[in-house]
């Protein structure tokens, strides 16, 4: 730093009075302390300018990338979804773009394959989300209970599948489902069961997703449980609540924010379902190439070169995700404010 030491001593204790709050609010710490400084020795116009320029400079890289890789693609997808490619003449003269309005949307919604894709994902959500939330919450509660041993080990061991890339998780489980390769199928065979693990795509995919994400979500819930003030739990115990009652009446309501967030990300993730069924598609004939809306969009774009239809399917998918996210956050917020009122 090039400044002489004089201003340092002069203003030594000053910033503390200026930025009195240790955690600066959204207003930021800059403004109040600057006005509170008692008679600055010299006006520093360059610094004031720097304070206006610095945030812009720091935000610019992200905003440029965000615009290029999120906002523009969204706009472009909407634009594309309104056009369709028509072969001119006999198909020799290339293609021309024709505005079709909502034509691609009605085509996508009118296609049974697309609707079935949404149905598969709906079925997947109905099976997966309760299982996922239930399992990860149960594991977090078990880990949080005073009885659990070796917590660090269990946390790491349960989280580890998340370190496995989705495609490799899908490959591992595909092998574990395949008769002849799988020790699981072999073991079930010797027990007399003749399982057709690849013939039921829904549980097959749900199991892979559960394996990948249960531990991850468990760590989130466990961290939230650990943040509950101990005196609340102590009070519940003194009031005569057993572990089960404490879990259901105290712990779970208190980590509602985490439950909402995990639910939100789980729904967004579920709608994007692609990798796992894409891997199973090679091994299981029941998983068609349009088994999820995402796979539908992919096959529309790359098998049929129908970009307008693919864009319309993507936009519909994003709109569904937005609607569900909105519903979940509203539901979560309404629940917590209701609870706040009840507690007041």
């Amino acid at each position: 730093m090039t400044r002489p030491p004089a201003p340092r001593t002069e203003a030594g204790p000053e910033p503390r009075t200026g930025a009195g709050t240790p955690a600066p609010g959204p207003a930021g710490p800059a403004a109040p302390s600057r006005t509170a400084r008692p008679g600055p020795a010299r006006p520093r116009p360059t610094r004031a300018a720097g304070r206006r320029g610095a945030p812009a400079l720091l935000l610019a890289p992200f905003m440029v990338l965000f615009t290029a890789c999120t906002l523009i693609p969204i706009g472009y997808a909407v634009h594309l979804s309104l056009y369709t490619e028509r072969r001119s003449g006999l198909g020799f003269g290339g293609t021309v773009s024709v505005f079709t309005g909502l034509g691609n949307y009605t085509r996508a919604l009118g296609d049974p394959a697309f609707r079935e894709g949404f149905l598969s994902v709906a079925g997947y959500c109905l099976l997966y989300i309760p299982l996922m939330l239930g399992l990860s919450l149960l594991l977090a509660l078990l880990l949080d209970s005073a009885l659990a041993r070796a917590r660090r080990f269990f946390q790491l061991a349960l989280f580890l599948p998340h370190a496995v890339p989705g495609i490799i998780a899908a490959l591992i489980w595909m092998y574990l489902y395949t008769p002849g390769i799988s020790p699981v199928v072999g073991a079930l065979d010797t027990l007399g069961a003749q399982p057709d693990l690849l013939g039921n795509p829904l549980p097959a995919v749900v199991n892979i997703a559960l394996w990948e994400w249960a531990g991850y979500n468990m760590v989130i819930f466990y961290a939230a449980l650990q943040a509950i003030p101990r005196e609340i739990l102590e009070a519940a115990r003194v009031d005569g609540a057993g572990p089960l009652r404490t879990a259901f009446s105290v712990k779970i309501p208190l980590i509602r924010a985490s439950l909402t967030m995990v639910g939100l990300f789980t729904v967004i993730g579920s709608l994007q379902l692609f990798t796992e069924p894409m891997i199973l598609h090679g091994a299981a004939p029941t998983v068609t190439s349009t088994w999820t809306p995402n796979m539908y969009a992919y096959s529309a774009a790359f098998d049929r070169n129908d970009y307008g239809l693919a864009a319309a399917a993507s936009v519909l998918l994003a709109l569904t995700a937005a609607a569900l996210s909105y519903a979940i956050t509203r539901g979560g917020r309404a629940g917590s404010s209701r609870r706040a009122k009840a507690g007041a």
Binding site: P55, L139, L142, L158, I167, P243, A257, L271
Partner: protein
């Protein structure tokens, strides 16, 4: 939906009055039940990884025959050799590509996110919360719904099937900006910045020499999450790349896997390649436990 019974109070001030009914629990039994359940769940998460480990040591015949392992049937060395020689060692090229995409991409992404998160935390400017709201909306957009329009845009710009087509989109992570802002709020006291200003340091210098250093744990957290996300990404490279010399490991393994029905000798390659592709992430997660836990916790505070 609330399970809290109305009127029921769980305030500590009741504590002295209540006679604290101590329940006798069958402690040993429930302790065994709790830990038994955790062991079962751990078996569910670890056994598939154990299978991968053992399968990587089998040759095609043993793998397809489902036979167990014994020392004379140990083929891990052969598999690694096959992995290094098939397609002129293309697998390790994929591996290197993945390290480049994920390593450089995650460093840059974390830096960009920390810059933005720091700006959101430190400065007051017009429309700040609206802009932050836009970034948060970006978290909710399904990334795979973006991949297709991104491919079409990239093809207009003639960068499809290049390094950049996969690399540039991987620099963006709106959730990273959110995390960085939370970390800045937790790690950078405003007094320090104010003291630096009084000392006459410029804003960018303060960010570079003080802010960035103080929020290093946040930087590492965003880096770790982005590294995992890029390493695991499958859809974007699948859409963007057709030249297999540019493939990341995930796409390469997918390509090999589609060949297994015709060429069973690819099975051990896929399995052994998968095992090697899992290693860096498992090592990173075991070594950096503190960071991913901090990241998950910061994300769940909201």
């Amino acid at each position: 939906m609330s399970i809290l019974a109305p009127g029921r109070r769980t305030r500590p001030d009741h504590a002295p009055a209540a006679p604290a009914p101590v329940r006798r629990q069958p402690w040993s039994l429930s302790r065994a039940a709790v830990n038994g359940a955790l062991v079962l769940a751990t078996a569910y998460t670890l056994l598939p990884l154990g299978w991968l480990l053992s399968a990587a040591a089998k040759n095609t015949g043993d793998l397809l025959g489902g036979r167990g392992l014994s020392p004379e049937r140990w083929h891990l060395g052969d598999n690694l050799h096959a992995l290094a020689t098939t397609g002129d060692g293309i697998y390790f090229r994929w591996y290197l590509n993945s390290l480049l995409y994920a390593g450089i991409g995650a460093v840059l992404c974390a830096f960009v996110c920390v810059c933005a998160g720091y700006a959101f935390h430190v400065y007051a400017f017009r429309g700040k919360e609206q802009l932050f709201g836009l970034v948060l909306l970006g978290v909710l957009v399904p990334t795979t719904a973006l991949a297709l329009p991104m491919y079409l845009l990239a093809s207009q710009l003639h960068i499809v099937n290049t390094f950049w087509a996969v690399f540039i989109p991987s620099l963006v992570n709106p959730f990273g900006v959110y995390l960085a802002r939370v970390f800045c709020a937790g790690y950078i006291p405003s007094e320090v910045l104010e003291a630096a200003r009084v000392d006459g340091a410029g804003e960018l210098r303060i960010f570079w020499s003080i802010g960035l250093r103080m929020v290093m744990p946040g930087f590492v957290t965003v880096f770790l999450f982005q590294f995992t996300a890029i390493w695991n990404n499958f859809f974007l490279p699948l859409v963007m790349l057709s030249d297999n010399r540019l493939f990341p490991v995930s796409l390469g393994l997918y390509a090999w896997n589609t060949q297994t029905t015709a060429f069973p000798e690819y099975y051990p390659l896929v399995v052994t390649g998968s095992l090697l592709a899992v290693v860096p992430l498992v090592v990173a997660f075991v070594a950096l436990q503190r960071h991913w836990k901090a990241g998950l916790t910061a994300g769940s505070v909201k």
